[in-house]
Protein backbone atom coordinates (compact mmCIF):
# COMPACT_ATOMS: atom_id res chain seq x y z
CA UNK A 1 0.00 0.00 0.00
CA UNK A 2 1.26 3.47 -0.82
CA UNK A 3 0.47 4.55 2.76
CA UNK A 4 3.48 2.47 3.85
CA UNK A 5 5.79 4.63 1.76
CA UNK A 6 6.60 7.67 3.93
CA UNK A 7 6.73 10.12 1.01
CA UNK A 8 3.30 9.09 -0.27
CA UNK A 9 1.84 9.08 3.19
CA UNK A 10 3.14 12.61 3.81
CA UNK A 11 1.64 13.76 0.50
CA UNK A 12 -1.72 12.11 1.28
CA UNK A 13 -1.89 13.73 4.70
CA UNK A 14 -1.03 17.08 3.12
CA UNK A 15 -3.83 16.60 0.55
CA UNK A 16 -6.43 15.63 3.14
CA UNK A 17 -5.50 18.62 5.32
CA UNK A 18 -6.17 20.90 2.35
CA UNK A 19 -9.38 19.06 1.46
CA UNK A 20 -10.95 18.55 4.84
CA UNK A 21 -9.43 21.23 7.04
CA UNK A 22 -8.66 23.89 4.40
CA UNK A 23 -5.13 24.08 5.68
CA UNK A 24 -2.65 24.42 2.83
CA UNK A 25 0.33 25.48 4.86
CA UNK A 26 0.96 22.51 7.16
CA UNK A 27 4.28 20.77 6.61
CA UNK A 28 4.17 17.02 7.03
CA UNK A 29 7.40 15.13 7.67
CA UNK A 30 7.75 11.47 8.48
CA UNK A 31 10.69 10.13 10.46
CA UNK A 32 10.43 6.42 11.16
CA UNK A 33 7.11 5.87 12.87
CA UNK A 34 6.70 9.55 13.79
CA UNK A 35 4.60 11.98 11.79
CA UNK A 36 5.60 15.62 12.37
CA UNK A 37 3.04 18.32 11.70
CA UNK A 38 4.38 21.88 11.53
CA UNK A 39 2.82 25.20 10.65
CA UNK A 40 0.27 27.65 11.92
CA UNK A 41 -3.50 27.64 12.30
CA UNK A 42 -6.03 30.15 13.62
CA UNK A 43 -7.64 28.28 16.53
CA UNK A 44 -6.90 25.47 19.02
CA UNK A 45 -9.86 23.55 17.51
CA UNK A 46 -8.26 23.73 14.08
CA UNK A 47 -5.00 22.47 15.55
CA UNK A 48 -6.85 19.46 16.96
CA UNK A 49 -8.66 18.90 13.69
CA UNK A 50 -5.38 18.79 11.77
CA UNK A 51 -4.03 16.24 14.23
CA UNK A 52 -7.17 14.09 14.01
CA UNK A 53 -6.99 13.96 10.21
CA UNK A 54 -3.32 12.97 10.28
CA UNK A 55 -4.04 10.33 12.92
CA UNK A 56 -6.85 8.92 10.82
CA UNK A 57 -4.56 8.25 7.85
CA UNK A 58 -1.29 7.45 9.59
CA UNK A 59 -2.42 4.29 11.30
CA UNK A 60 0.32 2.73 13.40
CA UNK A 61 2.42 5.89 13.47
CA UNK A 62 2.68 8.42 16.27
CA UNK A 63 1.81 12.07 15.65
CA UNK A 64 3.98 14.94 16.81
CA UNK A 65 1.74 17.99 16.58
CA UNK A 66 4.06 21.00 16.41
CA UNK A 67 1.41 23.22 14.84
CA UNK A 68 1.12 26.66 16.47
CA UNK A 69 -2.01 28.67 16.99
CA UNK A 70 -1.40 32.16 15.57
CA UNK A 71 -1.99 34.79 18.18
CA UNK A 72 -3.26 38.07 16.75
CA UNK A 73 -1.67 40.68 18.95
CA UNK A 74 -2.69 44.29 19.31
CA UNK A 75 -1.09 46.43 16.62
CA UNK A 76 2.07 48.07 17.81
CA UNK A 77 4.62 50.44 16.35
CA UNK A 78 4.93 51.66 12.80
CA UNK A 79 7.52 51.93 10.07
CA UNK A 80 8.29 55.18 8.29
CA UNK A 81 9.17 54.74 4.63
CA UNK A 82 10.77 57.89 3.34
Amino acid sequence: MSEDVPQYLAAHIHDRLADEADELGIRVDIRGDLVYLRGEVATPQQRQRVEAIARDIATGRRIRNEVHVVAVLEPEGEETLS
Binding site: D22, R27, G39, A42, T43, Q46, V72, L73, E79, L81
Partner: protein, 243 residues
Protein backbone atom coordinates in the same frame (compact mmCIF):
# COMPACT_ATOMS: atom_id res chain seq x y z
CA UNK B 1 2.53 61.99 5.86
CA UNK B 2 -0.11 59.32 5.67
CA UNK B 3 -0.34 56.14 7.73
CA UNK B 4 -1.29 52.99 5.90
CA UNK B 5 -2.47 50.00 7.92
CA UNK B 6 -2.13 46.68 6.12
CA UNK B 7 -2.90 43.03 6.81
CA UNK B 8 -3.54 39.88 4.78
CA UNK B 9 -4.78 36.33 5.24
CA UNK B 10 -7.48 36.88 7.84
CA UNK B 11 -8.94 33.47 6.87
CA UNK B 12 -12.13 34.01 8.83
CA UNK B 13 -14.61 31.23 9.55
CA UNK B 14 -17.66 30.87 11.78
CA UNK B 15 -15.45 29.77 14.69
CA UNK B 16 -13.60 33.10 14.77
CA UNK B 17 -16.51 35.41 13.96
CA UNK B 18 -15.91 38.86 15.48
CA UNK B 19 -12.41 38.00 16.76
CA UNK B 20 -10.50 40.11 14.26
CA UNK B 21 -12.80 43.09 14.49
CA UNK B 22 -11.95 43.57 18.17
CA UNK B 23 -8.42 44.50 17.15
CA UNK B 24 -9.66 47.23 14.81
CA UNK B 25 -10.98 49.39 17.62
CA UNK B 26 -9.06 52.65 17.52
CA UNK B 27 -7.57 52.08 14.08
CA UNK B 28 -8.71 55.58 13.05
CA UNK B 29 -6.25 57.01 15.61
CA UNK B 30 -3.40 55.06 14.10
CA UNK B 31 -4.01 54.96 10.36
CA UNK B 32 -5.71 56.76 7.47
CA UNK B 33 -6.79 53.62 5.64
CA UNK B 34 -6.64 49.84 5.88
CA UNK B 35 -5.40 47.62 3.06
CA UNK B 36 -6.31 43.93 3.11
CA UNK B 37 -4.13 41.69 0.94
CA UNK B 38 -6.57 38.85 0.25
CA UNK B 39 -7.48 35.46 1.74
CA UNK B 40 -10.21 36.97 3.83
CA UNK B 41 -11.90 33.57 4.06
CA UNK B 42 -10.92 29.93 4.49
CA UNK B 43 -13.08 28.12 1.94
CA UNK B 44 -14.30 31.06 -0.11
CA UNK B 45 -17.97 30.56 0.70
CA UNK B 46 -20.44 33.44 0.65
CA UNK B 47 -21.18 32.76 4.34
CA UNK B 48 -17.52 33.33 5.17
CA UNK B 49 -17.52 36.37 2.89
CA UNK B 50 -20.31 37.80 5.04
CA UNK B 51 -18.30 37.16 8.20
CA UNK B 52 -15.31 38.95 6.62
CA UNK B 53 -17.55 41.84 5.58
CA UNK B 54 -18.81 42.18 9.16
CA UNK B 55 -15.24 42.26 10.49
CA UNK B 56 -14.38 45.16 8.16
CA UNK B 57 -17.61 47.17 8.08
CA UNK B 58 -17.64 50.75 9.50
CA UNK B 59 -14.25 50.58 11.18
CA UNK B 60 -13.71 54.35 10.90
CA UNK B 61 -11.20 54.38 8.02
CA UNK B 62 -11.62 53.42 4.34
CA UNK B 63 -10.88 49.75 3.63
CA UNK B 64 -9.43 48.57 0.31
CA UNK B 65 -9.05 44.86 -0.32
CA UNK B 66 -8.18 42.29 -2.95
CA UNK B 67 -9.27 38.65 -2.88
CA UNK B 68 -6.92 35.71 -2.41
CA UNK B 69 -6.81 32.13 -3.70
CA UNK B 70 -8.89 30.89 -0.73
CA UNK B 71 -11.62 33.39 -1.62
CA UNK B 72 -11.86 31.69 -5.04
CA UNK B 73 -12.03 28.15 -3.67
CA UNK B 74 -15.83 27.76 -3.83
CA UNK B 75 -16.31 29.62 -7.11
CA UNK B 76 -18.12 32.39 -5.22
CA UNK B 77 -15.54 35.16 -5.64
CA UNK B 78 -17.95 37.53 -7.36
CA UNK B 79 -20.55 37.13 -4.62
CA UNK B 80 -17.88 37.61 -1.92
CA UNK B 81 -16.74 40.81 -3.63
CA UNK B 82 -20.36 41.97 -3.73
CA UNK B 83 -20.93 41.26 -0.04
CA UNK B 84 -17.76 43.19 0.81
CA UNK B 85 -18.79 46.13 -1.38
CA UNK B 86 -22.18 46.17 0.35
CA UNK B 87 -20.26 46.61 3.61
CA UNK B 88 -18.50 49.66 2.17
CA UNK B 89 -15.21 47.92 1.37
CA UNK B 90 -13.50 48.70 -1.96
CA UNK B 91 -12.56 45.47 -3.74
CA UNK B 92 -9.89 45.70 -6.44
CA UNK B 93 -9.38 43.16 -9.20
CA UNK B 94 -7.01 44.55 -11.78
CA UNK B 95 -8.12 48.13 -11.23
CA UNK B 96 -7.35 51.10 -9.01
CA UNK B 97 -8.95 53.56 -6.65
CA UNK B 98 -7.99 56.89 -5.10
CA UNK B 99 -8.60 57.41 -1.39
CA UNK B 100 -8.56 60.98 -0.07
CA UNK B 101 -6.73 61.11 3.26
CA UNK B 102 -6.48 64.56 4.82
CA UNK B 103 -5.73 66.26 1.52
CA UNK B 104 -3.41 63.53 0.26
CA UNK B 105 -4.64 61.47 -2.67
CA UNK B 106 -3.59 57.89 -2.04
CA UNK B 107 -3.82 55.74 -5.16
CA UNK B 108 -4.14 51.99 -4.68
CA UNK B 109 -4.08 49.58 -7.61
CA UNK B 110 -4.10 45.83 -7.44
CA UNK B 111 -5.86 42.51 -7.46
CA UNK B 112 -5.24 38.91 -6.55
CA UNK B 113 -2.35 38.33 -8.95
CA UNK B 114 -1.01 34.82 -9.50
CA UNK B 115 2.12 32.67 -9.55
CA UNK B 116 4.74 31.69 -12.08
CA UNK B 117 7.97 32.22 -10.21
CA UNK B 118 10.88 34.57 -10.34
CA UNK B 119 13.36 35.55 -13.01
CA UNK B 120 15.64 32.70 -13.94
CA UNK B 121 13.45 30.11 -12.22
CA UNK B 122 10.00 30.62 -13.58
CA UNK B 123 7.34 28.99 -15.68
CA UNK B 124 7.25 29.90 -19.38
CA UNK B 125 4.41 30.61 -21.74
CA UNK B 126 5.22 27.43 -23.70
CA UNK B 127 3.92 23.93 -24.33
CA UNK B 128 0.60 22.53 -23.19
CA UNK B 129 -2.50 24.72 -23.06
CA UNK B 130 -2.64 24.22 -19.27
CA UNK B 131 0.85 25.69 -18.90
CA UNK B 132 0.04 28.56 -21.23
CA UNK B 133 -3.16 29.25 -19.29
CA UNK B 134 -1.20 29.37 -16.03
CA UNK B 135 1.41 31.82 -17.27
CA UNK B 136 -1.10 33.68 -19.45
CA UNK B 137 -3.32 34.42 -16.43
CA UNK B 138 -0.39 36.04 -14.59
CA UNK B 139 0.67 37.95 -17.70
CA UNK B 140 -2.76 39.41 -18.29
CA UNK B 141 -3.07 40.34 -14.60
CA UNK B 142 0.35 42.04 -14.71
CA UNK B 143 -0.76 44.03 -17.77
CA UNK B 144 -3.86 45.24 -15.89
CA UNK B 145 -1.80 46.08 -12.80
CA UNK B 146 0.67 48.07 -14.94
CA UNK B 147 -2.18 49.94 -16.61
CA UNK B 148 -4.05 50.69 -13.39
CA UNK B 149 -0.92 51.92 -11.58
CA UNK B 150 -0.17 54.21 -14.52
CA UNK B 151 -3.75 55.47 -14.47
CA UNK B 152 -3.22 56.73 -10.92
CA UNK B 153 -1.22 59.66 -12.27
CA UNK B 154 -3.27 62.19 -10.30
CA UNK B 155 -2.50 60.47 -6.97
CA UNK B 156 0.12 61.90 -4.60
CA UNK B 157 1.20 58.46 -3.39
CA UNK B 158 0.80 55.14 -5.25
CA UNK B 159 0.51 51.71 -3.60
CA UNK B 160 0.30 48.27 -5.21
CA UNK B 161 -1.91 45.74 -3.38
CA UNK B 162 -1.86 42.07 -4.40
CA UNK B 163 -2.35 38.70 -2.76
CA UNK B 164 0.53 36.97 -4.56
CA UNK B 165 4.04 38.29 -4.11
CA UNK B 166 5.92 40.38 -6.67
CA UNK B 167 9.33 39.38 -5.25
CA UNK B 168 10.99 36.40 -3.64
CA UNK B 169 12.63 38.38 -0.79
CA UNK B 170 9.41 38.25 1.21
CA UNK B 171 9.03 34.50 0.65
CA UNK B 172 12.14 33.67 2.70
CA UNK B 173 11.03 30.99 5.15
CA UNK B 174 8.83 29.20 2.60
CA UNK B 175 10.23 26.09 0.85
CA UNK B 176 11.93 27.33 -2.39
CA UNK B 177 10.17 24.52 -4.30
CA UNK B 178 6.83 26.31 -3.95
CA UNK B 179 7.99 29.84 -4.85
CA UNK B 180 6.38 29.57 -8.32
CA UNK B 181 3.01 29.14 -6.57
CA UNK B 182 3.56 32.12 -4.31
CA UNK B 183 4.20 34.89 -6.78
CA UNK B 184 5.65 36.16 -10.01
CA UNK B 185 8.32 38.60 -11.10
CA UNK B 186 5.81 39.84 -13.70
CA UNK B 187 4.03 41.71 -10.90
CA UNK B 188 7.27 43.46 -9.85
CA UNK B 189 8.01 44.37 -13.45
CA UNK B 190 4.63 46.09 -13.69
CA UNK B 191 5.15 47.86 -10.34
CA UNK B 192 8.60 49.07 -11.35
CA UNK B 193 7.17 50.91 -14.33
CA UNK B 194 5.31 53.41 -12.15
CA UNK B 195 6.38 55.60 -9.26
CA UNK B 196 5.14 53.27 -6.53
CA UNK B 197 5.85 54.03 -2.85
CA UNK B 198 4.93 50.61 -1.45
CA UNK B 199 3.89 47.17 -2.69
CA UNK B 200 1.82 45.16 -0.21
CA UNK B 201 1.03 41.46 -0.50
CA UNK B 202 0.04 38.42 1.57
CA UNK B 203 -0.28 34.67 0.80
CA UNK B 204 3.18 33.59 2.01
CA UNK B 205 2.29 32.71 5.62
CA UNK B 206 5.79 31.49 6.41
CA UNK B 207 7.54 34.30 4.56
CA UNK B 208 9.26 37.48 5.72
CA UNK B 209 7.87 40.99 6.05
CA UNK B 210 10.37 43.08 4.13
CA UNK B 211 11.66 43.05 0.57
CA UNK B 212 12.35 45.29 -2.38
CA UNK B 213 11.69 45.02 -6.12
CA UNK B 214 14.58 45.03 -8.61
CA UNK B 215 13.56 48.65 -9.36
CA UNK B 216 13.81 49.64 -5.68
CA UNK B 217 10.16 49.67 -4.59
CA UNK B 218 9.65 48.56 -1.00
CA UNK B 219 7.61 45.35 -0.66
CA UNK B 220 5.86 44.28 2.55
CA UNK B 221 4.36 40.82 3.18
CA UNK B 222 1.56 41.52 5.64
CA UNK B 223 0.16 38.00 6.01
CA UNK B 224 -1.19 37.77 9.56
CA UNK B 225 1.19 34.96 10.63
CA UNK B 226 4.13 37.04 9.33
CA UNK B 227 3.38 40.38 10.97
CA UNK B 228 1.94 38.66 14.08
CA UNK B 229 -0.21 41.65 14.94
CA UNK B 230 -3.64 42.79 13.82
CA UNK B 231 -2.11 45.06 11.16
CA UNK B 232 1.18 46.71 10.33
CA UNK B 233 1.36 50.49 9.92
CA UNK B 234 3.53 52.16 7.28
CA UNK B 235 4.01 55.91 7.19
CA UNK B 236 4.43 57.32 3.70
CA UNK B 237 4.94 60.82 2.37
CA UNK B 238 4.54 62.22 -1.10
CA UNK B 239 8.28 61.93 -1.38
CA UNK B 240 8.27 58.22 -0.48
CA UNK B 241 9.64 56.43 -3.47
CA UNK B 242 12.30 54.04 -4.46
CA UNK B 243 15.09 53.21 -2.13
Amino acid sequence: MISVAAVGDLHVGSDVRGHYRKHLTGIADRADLLLVAGDLTRHGTVAEGRIAADELRDIGVPVVTVLGNHDYHSGAELEIAEVLRDAGVTVLEGNGTVVHCDGTRVGVAGGKGFGGGFAGRCASDFGEPEMKAFVGYTKSFAARLRHSLRSLDDADVRISLTHYSPVKDTLAGEPPEIYPFLGSYLLAEAIDESDVALAVHGHAHKGTEKGVTPGGVRVRNVALPVIQQAYAVYRLSEASGRR
